[in-house]
């Protein structure tokens, strides 16, 4: 079981309370598809992903980014039980979506960078450590049901 310090709990809750899920979600997913273009393989039905401008303006991507952030919200609200909270999502990503779990790390790196830009100086090294620990737990839970 993951042990969270008071600082980590407070930090994670605080960060997510400040995020505009639509803006951050859309920006994060778009950035992931641009920086790691092979991730576009999972978005064949999402319309025009031809170049960075198209991706950034794509409403389906924006919407899906929001969905992802709301998914993360579930982990924020169940920090002591992320593994169980994500069991179904893990099965979904494995059996239905067939997403290579390495991609979770790529998306979480993009999220870190987008959140850093938004929080600016407040995103200190300690805050980043807590945030990345949280994302690592999320990524691990999402990969758990793969076989």
């Amino acid at each position: 079981m993951v042990v969270w310090t008071d600082f980590e709990r407070a930090t994670i809750t605080d960060i997510f309370s400040k995020l505009d899920y639509e803006a951050v979600g859309g920006a994060t997913l778009a950035r992931c598809l641009i920086v790691y273009p092979w991730t576009q393989r999972y978005f064949g039905n999402f319309g025009n992903l031809y170049n960075a401008a198209a991706i950034l303006g794509n409403p389906m991507i924006a919407k899906h980014g929001t969905t992802i952030l709301h998914g993360l919200d579930r982990a924020v609200k169940n920090m002591d039980n992320i593994k169980a909270t994500y069991a179904e999502l893990s099965v979904l990503h494995s059996e239905k979506l067939h997403v290579d779990p390495d991609n979770f790390k790529l998306l979480s790196d993009c999220l870190t960078i987008v959140v850093a830009a938004q929080l600016g100086k407040a995103f200190t090294g300690e805050v980043q450590a807590a945030f990345q620990k949280f994302l690592a737990v999320v990524v691990s839970a999402l990969g758990r049901q793969y076989h």
Binding site: A30, I34, V35, A52, L56, I113, A117, G125, Q128
Partner: protein, 144 residues
């Protein structure tokens, strides 16, 4: 070796020109973050008295590392040749596990995202990410 496109190289050069007068600040922040977020990296600095953010050794070394990145930007057309001496240093003297290049690259990108929120667009991000990967590869050239 990855081909950085002409566009990648231009993007990197233009962006790095903006970073040039902040090398110590950027380097120190990136290094501090690395030590905080990836504590295993502290093992390479057991000889420092003070590993805290903003300490003298962290500032000095952060600047050294960023000047190295700047050197790579200057020899972006042939990273292997340009970074030969640095690669030998890292291979034979420092013996830094190359996995750590990726870690520091990530921390550098986070710092750039904070300090240049408007300039660090996704297009700049991808070119920089490719460049740092190519740099890391060139730095690992002499390892074995």
């Amino acid at each position: 070796m990855t081909c950085l496109s002409a566009k990648d190289k231009d993007t990197v050069k233009v962006f790095w020109a903006k970073v040039a007068d902040k090398v110590e600040e950027v380097g120190s922040d990136a290094l501090s973050r690395m030590l905080a977020v990836y504590p295993q990296t502290k093992t390479y600095f057991s000889h420092w008295k003070d590993l805290s953010p903003g300490s003298a050794p962290v500032n000095k070394h952060g600047k050294t590392v960023m000047l190295g990145v700047g050197q790579a930007v200057a020899c972006i057309d042939d990273l292997n040749a340009g970074l030969l001496t640095l690669s030998e240093l890292h291979a034979f003297t420092l013996r830094v596990d190359p996995a750590n290049f990726k870690i520091l690259s990530h921390c550098l990108l986070v710092v750039l995202s904070i300090k240049f929120p408007n300039d660090f667009t996704p297009e700049v991000h991808v070119s920089l990410d490719k460049f740092l990967a190519a740099l890391s590869r060139a730095l690992s050239e002499k390892y074995r």
